[in-house]
Symmetry: C2
Subunit: 347 residues, 2 copies
């Protein structure tokens, strides 16, 4: 995890916009030959002529997507990048460049933005992507981060949401619901702290996996590399940012298929199960509707099953059907329940 | 100019994020074969393999960059796109795709966002660019627009800020300071309206050029096409978004040259001169320091002078010198004054 630093305070209006961009970006490395010109002109110049590109963008708003009460700025910077890269991986592509724009109110001193950018830089170094531009400006309230990520893939390797066929297997990476429960734990501790600011630092070690999934999620670059190694090309893929049920419905709608999802197959970490019990939450409901897992949900032809069988990264959680059969959850009691979108909504 | 529409009110939380994106983007046309997949998957897919790409991004914040008190939402959408395209043109490139992300507080009903997107769509149609993606989310306060633009140019045609040489001519397109004065006029009328909301609609026809430059600026696509026709490649170029003095200093610093700028050559519209007198402003100071003109500032080798001579789009306003001579304004009284950055700062 990241360390916290003492923060001194340099007001942003002393530096000016151009000085600020330079200060914040001067230590970033360039990893890709395709980055001909990064920060410092009217636009970055990229040589994206080798293969098709993918482009995705996300906007994170303080008070809507994050709470600086428990999200350290360095983690926030890291997570903001990861969220975007996850969308690139969901196309079976590898990211190469990002732009980062921020709007910050005058309550943020230079040192706060440096902390934010140190997280952005760590993500760039971890995932080998180049920061090629952005915009920094003031806001009238709070902090806002807008990131656009660019990646590449061979045309025949790009995976869309619309390629799933009846009888394809529905597969998920990792496990679900931990990020949401991490948020619940952090929210509870924040309330406790509000009531009693002098309480001893709580022992959160029993929730460590949950909190790490909330504060420092990773995107599944390893899975994209694994697909190449295993010679697997999913027929459809999406990343799980808004909840499993919502993402399954996207795949079904765009691929014009139905699906059967088996409750007993949904992968949950033991900390998730224990914390659901503690919070009196139904773990399947949480797994279906909670967001921010940044795992990949994909479909494969049944003939590819042997290639992924037994791999600890993958869990087969169901299979696709004809569209007219609809999308259903098959419960442990063998009941068939229609899946409805319960995912996270920002409005 | 644009017409206003009566607005009915549909709350955003009734629609949800996915329905909203579909509603707002379904009428956009695709102009470029390079857009293989636009809105609707985890990422857009682009074929940018023909020539190098340029990428630029801008963030516009309510209360910092615009005031909805006098900026109609349709104009705002149009301007937000134009601001970004201007940066693409400043690289001597032509834009092809944009992503648009917005954060809007719950005071904005669906109809307001539709109005905003109708301006974005008009800009896309006017400049022939494809909307390929974006993000819509709620904000805790106000409206925020983040746009990333992608363009292309042959490698040998890309113009950076750093190619100016001593003795190159310093040239500007169009004229300066009108957008800033348009803002001053609108601000004044807003104050008048605050004091007396029942006053008759003011006659602003004498400021029509100024107001149009503020509310509906255009980016100089025509100039980039003209360069090709005239076989002119600037040695350095930048767009004028933050004021002439600031942009000149960028060219000088990055090209490692100085310059002499002649006050008498700075192109000003008669409405600018008249309104400066009315507001008791010194027109040269305004021209040097006011932003949002979105004209192009560029340098050319003296041998190219005959190609641009007499063209009403271009005004030679000075020439570059050795770096050690510094950057100076030569006044009408033949005084030599060091140019300092006075441009618009968002912090």
């Amino acid at each position: 995890m990241f360390e916290n630093k003492d923060q001194s305070h340099t007001s942003l209006d002393k530096i000016g916009e151009f000085g600020l961009i330079q200060l914040l970006t001067e230590h970033f490395k360039i990893y890709h030959k395709s980055t001909l010109k990064g920060v410092g002109d009217d636009a970055a110049v990229l040589d994206l002529t080798k293969e098709p590109s993918v482009v995705t963008t996300d906007l994170l708003v303080e008070g809507v997507h994050f709470d600086l009460g428990y999200m350290p700025l360095k983690h926030l910077g890291y997570k903001a990048v990861v969220v975007n890269l996850s969308d690139v991986f969901a196309m079976n592509a590898l990211p190469s460049q990002i732009t980062v724009s921020i709007a910050a109110s005058n309550r943020f001193p230079l040192e706060a933005l440096e902390e934010l950018y140190s997280g952005i830089q760590l993500a760039c170094d971890t995932y080998k992507v180049d920061l090629i531009g952005g915009d920094t400006t003031s806001s009238t309230k709070g902090l806002l981060i807008s990131i656009t990520a660019i990646g590449q893939a061979k045309k025949e390797e790009i995976v869309y949401r619309n390629g799933a066929k009846p009888n394809d297997l529905l597969v998920i990476t990792g496990d679900l619901a931990a990020a949401y429960l991490g948020l619940q734990v952090l929210e509870r501790e924040k309330q406790v702290f509000k009531v009693n600011p002098n309480a001893t630092q709580p022992d959160l070690s029993m929730y460590s996996y949950l909190i790490e999934r909330q504060l420092k999620p990773e995107a599944r670059k390893d899975v994209i590399e694994l697909f190449k190694k295993l010679h697997v090309k999913p027929t459809a893929m999406i990343d799980i940012s808004d909840g499993l049920s919502s993402e399954i419905l996207h795949l079904c709608e765009q691929s014009k298929v139905g699906c059967n999802l088996f409750e007993e197959k949904i992968p949950l970490d033991p900390q998730v199960i224990a914390t659901c019990e503690e919070f009196n939450l139904e773990s399947t409901t949480v797994a279906l509707s909670s967001g921010e897992d940044y795992e990949l949900l994909f479909t494969i032809d049944q003939k590819d099953y042997d290639k992924i069988k037994g791999n600890p990264n993958f869990t087969v959680i169901g299979h696709m059907t004809d569209a007219k059969e609809g999308a259903h959850l098959i419960t442990r009691a063998n009941q068939k329940i229609a899946i409805i979108a319960q995912g996270w909504r920002s409005f």
